[in-house]
Symmetry: C2
Subunit: 322 residues, 2 copies
């Protein structure tokens, strides 16, 4: 059996079992959520890591290096935001071919630094190794808000029947932007910029845990797939009203026929999906309510205005099967 | 200019400047040492990251996956030991080709878990991505011993004229073992095992900071090169007596003519070089004194019994030039 037969999510499940991290009483969250959390003295530390591989996660012919640097940090910041925490420090590992031009590195670090500055992150160290292609791995450390000696977190496994489902921002712009970039659009246009310079929702995540929301995930693989992970972890179903999925005017204008599909399956939006009681969600500014947690087996149903289910060919991104 | 013209160490220096990490008052040690250190509440957190790339850092034809897993974790534990800290948590990122066999992963995690167990490390999370070859990145978090509200650390820049230079263990076994592996030796033999299953010196590092030693580095690139980094950071010179460099009986027997060169330039020993006053070093068990810090420009002189300098063709490992 090879990993492409297994698929990304069965693979993660297998590796999670192999690790068996709950060995330490200091571990609050082990493998399987957006980030790990452990107790350190009176603090709760959140840690995550994310990798971008040249040719798979970015294409230097269509992204400039500063954008790649921004995004490498931003995806990690988003994982911390998806736990309801605030990012603090990062380690950056670069794998580089011998022939990598030094100017590309300067530009990459410009983007890393810009994203770090905006999110109050300090790049405290890292590693440089040689490799056949550029691989950027960021490990990000953050801190959880604590209340009564316990961390206030957004988990995947705390959705309950009757909860409301809401999202930050607009969905699908990133996938629309990637499509435009592939057809030669400039990186300065609206949708391409949303693809290359995503804004992680740290403030929304912090507001959510302070308002008593305990369930959330970020949209990295696509709304339906990421919400599906959350339903799986919580053992609940979800219905989403297609007409309530927030789409930008730019996306509707560029792809009138595909905007909904891009929003539901495109991924890399780095918006937050927040799940909780309506009063708790009311404490988070600028959310869009898109559906409810329902009884029944885990799974997400996207419904049109007549209550009929809408299905797409590909529900979202699987790194090993796609 | 590309990175191979610049070389690994000029590249690290350039990236260190690009980061400018001392932006936060919580940063105790920024880029440029074995690991980063920052204050988190009353604690001092140490963090490091290290990457192994298939075909460059390991060859699956001569190493089994369990050994690769052990070493991926051990090199990071060694960086924490080289700061005088204790490792606590790790994140493991795997980049895998689609055709990676699942059994190899089981075996890789067996080695990771074994090393984690021995060193009291919890693998708390990670990431899996697709890539053309296997890349294993570990981010390791540790804790520094604190005294009077300040962390007790082994730094590179605290060597002083007159200090004694000592090392843990024996040097060169790893390089000798790699040579034997390349000539078909089994991984169960003594030297190959030292190459594939290095033992990071956590206890020695902790004993050193408790005894008041403040200067050290681990041997990853080779004794002369790593001590050279330390001299550079401290602005001092060093002399090493060749006859005092600790060599194992196995290494002398296998490579009677090259044992000293392997010990001085081979690297991947993951022993600690500790530099301090003789009374402070006396507080660390089982060290071998090999030389002194001397006046003069940064640089390491290896001397034979007549006081003549011994030079080798290649001083150590440079990932981009080698």
């Amino acid at each position: 059996v090879d990993v492409s037969e297994l698929g990304e999510f069965a693979l993660i499940e297998r590796l999670t079992k192999l690790v068996g991290a709950n060995a330490s009483p200091d571990v609050v969250v082990g493998p399987g959520d957006d980030a790990a959390v452990w107790r350190s003295g009176d603090d709760f530390i959140i840690a995550t890591t994310d990798t971008m591989v040249e040719g798979l996660h970015f294409d230097p012919r269509i992204s400039n290096w500063a954008d790649v640097g921004w995004k490498a940090l931003a995806t990690n910041v988003s994982d911390i935001a998806a736990m309801g925490g605030a990012p603090t420090f990062a380690l950056v590992t670069l794998a580089l071919p011998k022939k990598a031009p030094v100017e590309a590195l300067d530009s990459l670090y410009e983007g890393l630094n810009e994203c770090a500055l905006v999110h109050g992150v300090v790049i405290a160290g890292g590693d440089v190794v040689r490799a056949p292609q550029v691989v950027i791995t960021v490990a990000m450390i953050g801190r959880a808000v604590a209340g009564n000696g316990e961390p206030l977190l957004l988990r995947r496994n705390t959705a309950h029947y009757g909860d409301t489902i809401a999202v930050t921002g607009r969905l699908g712009d990133s996938a629309g932007g990637l499509r435009q970039l592939r057809f030669g659009a400039s990186g300065d246009e609206v949708l391409p910029r949303r693809h290359m310079r995503p804004t992680p929702r740290v403030a929304a995540g912090l507001a959510a845990v302070r308002a008593g929301v305990t369930c959330g995930i970020d949209v990295s693989d696509g709304l339906l797939q990421d919400l599906g992970h959350l339903c799986e972890a919580s053992g609940v179903g979800a219905t989403i009203r297609a007409s309530d999925v927030p789409l930008s005017g730019e996306l509707r204008a560029a792809y009138p026929d595909d905007a909904l599909e891009l929003a539901c399956t495109g991924g890399e939006d780095y918006e937050l999906i927040l799940v909780g009681s309506q009063p708790a969600l009311d404490g988070v500014p600028a959310l869009t309510v898109i559906g409810e947690i329902v009884d029944g087996p885990p799974g997400v149903h996207l419904l049109d205005n007549d209550g009929n289910q809408i299905k797409f060919e590909r529900p979202g991104w699987d790194a090993f099967r796609s």
